[in-house]
């Protein structure tokens, strides 16, 4: 069994619908333009309840990652890697990475958004490395030598 998306609020449903359509969208406040994630009832900047669902660019940068060496959830046998990515639009998104333990995974590395269909048919956002496109700050700070 794979871990299906869980709906923690009314606002998670459009998010997962956009993922299912392979066009991940987040709420953007119609009053101040702030994009927010997780989805919710009001803009955390201006409190406006009005928002549109806007597709994201799919570009981002790895903030961090962890490798699970124990299996915690069905469908994710160890070792299993999970990344946190800051999208070009600003919000942070957790994701799997494809392949699951890629060479060259580093903090600051650029990634692009893709979609992965699980065994139960649900679609999951996943990221792939853009190895040729390391974030310039990561290069400047010498973050390449950091490893497990």
């Amino acid at each position: 069994m794979m871990a299906s998306p869980r709906l923690f609020s009314l606002y998670d449903e459009p998010f997962w619908a956009s993922v299912g359509a392979r066009n991940l969208a987040l709420q953007r406040c119609t009053q101040c333009g702030t994009m927010r994630y997780p989805p919710g009832p009001a803009c955390p900047e201006c409190l406006s309840p009005d928002a549109t669902w806007d597709a994201v660019s799919g570009r981002g940068e790895v903030l961090s990652w962890t490798v699970f060496h124990r299996q915690y959830l069905p469908g994710f046998p160890a070792p299993h890697t999970v990344v946190t990515v800051q999208l070009a639009e600003g919000p942070l998104l957790v994701g799997t990475i494809t392949p699951d333990v890629p060479d060259g995974l580093r903090i600051g590395v650029a990634v692009s958004l893709h979609y992965h269909e699980q065994l139960d048919g649900t679609v999951l956002p996943t990221f792939k490395l853009l190895k040729e496109s390391i974030h310039p700050i990561a290069l400047a700070e010498g973050l390449y030598r950091v490893g497990g």
Partner: protein
């Protein structure tokens, strides 16, 4: 709230004995039973009867009403809180005149009841959505969130696994001197580095224990505290100050965790605390840090102003946080080696160190013990003192 209240009694269950019994398949007690045992011990320690208690705060693992029923207490004020919030709320209640003698009781059967902190049944999601929200990607558990945070810290600050290993090794040294500690087998740097990863880069020894037990404290208004002490109890351990600051914005997607390392909250809480207490890091004789994971320690050393950002590893190596070190940290062994009482064991350890009778692990001339807690960006802190 400076010295508005003092701790006049402490109690705990037999963590070591119950750990053995649970490992052997027994269920020694439930959460209420552990809490009741700790409460009895705290009353005995204070030298008072339960009829003197007019306030009750219970830990998050037990219901307020049922605990009052079990203990036979009809308080005029009460509530439910985690360990450090319980202390803060008790002082506020006393300062406002809502209560004079407040019992803080905690019991947790998390080991015998097989409470899960990760996986499909991960607890805590009602209060901290990040603990469960990313389950569709296979990410649950607080350990994984701290693994993400420590990985990024290592990269940005050029820190190493050896830097972090010093925490588990140092706290185990304290535990070896503490007969109430569960994990007392000596631990070396090599043992740590050879141990398995759980959520990499965190090793097994970076994780807290999971064990059953209970803790209780009796907090009394200043004049009542003096009167109780005069009747033959221990000398009061005063609460010199408190501080709190929370970072909730962006919490589920981990913005304050990964972009700020919760530093702004820790700084605000520390500034409040040091101003109220009139003492700061240079005056502190022992520092107790909420340590569900070892990396809480370097984050707190930096966030609460003991060393500069990125300097925790070299600070620990140069100053020493174990027995004989320049800054004793988690002198009972903490959550990693003594007992995982979710911050409650740190409160009674602070009281014990100020009382000054802890034998081999007693911090010499211990006048001020600082408790620094940061659970998912909720920074709360207390200064205990003579």
């Amino acid at each position: 709230m400076h010295k508005a209240a003092a701790v006049v009694g402490i109690g705990q269950t037999d963590w070591v004995g119950d750990y053995r019994r649970v490992r052997a398949g027994e269920k020694p007690d439930d959460s209420y039973g552990y809490a009741a045992a700790a409460f009895r011990a705290a009353l005995d320690d204070a030298g008072i009867g339960k009829d003197e208690v007019d306030g009750l705060i219970v830990g998050p693992t037990t219901a307020y009403e049922r605990m009052g029923e079990v203990l036979g207490i009809n308080p005029r004020w009460g509530g439910q809180a985690d360990s450090v919030q319980a202390v803060v709320q008790a002082i506020m209640a006393v300062r406002c005149g809502m209560a004079e003698v407040v019992a803080l009781v905690y019991g947790n059967n998390q080991r015998s009841a097989a409470v899960q902190y990760g996986g499909p049944q991960a607890m805590g999601g009602d209060d901290f959505l990040a603990y469960v929200y990313h389950a569709p990607w296979g990410l649950t558990s607080q350990g994984a969130l701290y693994a993400l945070m420590w990985r990024r810290y290592m990269a940005l600050q050029s820190a190493t696994e050896r830097d972090l290993a010093q925490v588990a090794v140092g706290q185990r040294q304290w535990a070896c001197l503490n007969e109430r500690a569960i994990m007392r087998k000596p631990l070396t740097m090599e043992d740590y580095l050879a141990s398995a990863y759980v959520a990499e880069p965190l090793h097994l020894f970076d994780y807290c224990l999971i064990n059953d037990g209970g803790v209780a404290l009796i907090v009394a208004e200043a004049s009542r505290a003096k009167a109780i002490a005069a009747r033959g109890g221990h000398r009061p351990v005063w609460i010199h100050g408190v501080g709190r600051a929370d970072m909730n914005r962006g919490a589920t997607s981990m913005e304050p965790r990964l972009l700020d390392f919760y530093r702004p909250a820790q700084k605000l809480a520390a500034d409040q605390l040091y101003a109220m207490a009139g003492v700061g890091p240079k005056d502190v004789d022992a520092l107790l840090i909420y340590d569900s994971f070892s990396c809480h320690v370097p984050f707190a050393l930096e966030g609460f102003g003991y060393c500069g950002t990125g300097d925790a590893g070299s600070f620990i190596a140069g100053t020493g946080i174990g027995p004989g070190g320049g800054l004793p940290v988690n002198t009972g062994g903490g959550h990693l080696s003594e007992s995982y009482m979710q911050g409650w064991n740190h409160q009674i350890e602070a009281v014990r160190q100020i009382r000054g009778a802890e034998g081999a692990r007693q911090v010499p001339d211990c006048r001020f013990v600082h408790y620094a807690s940061d659970v998912a960006g909720k920074a709360v802190t207390v200064m205990y003192g003579v």
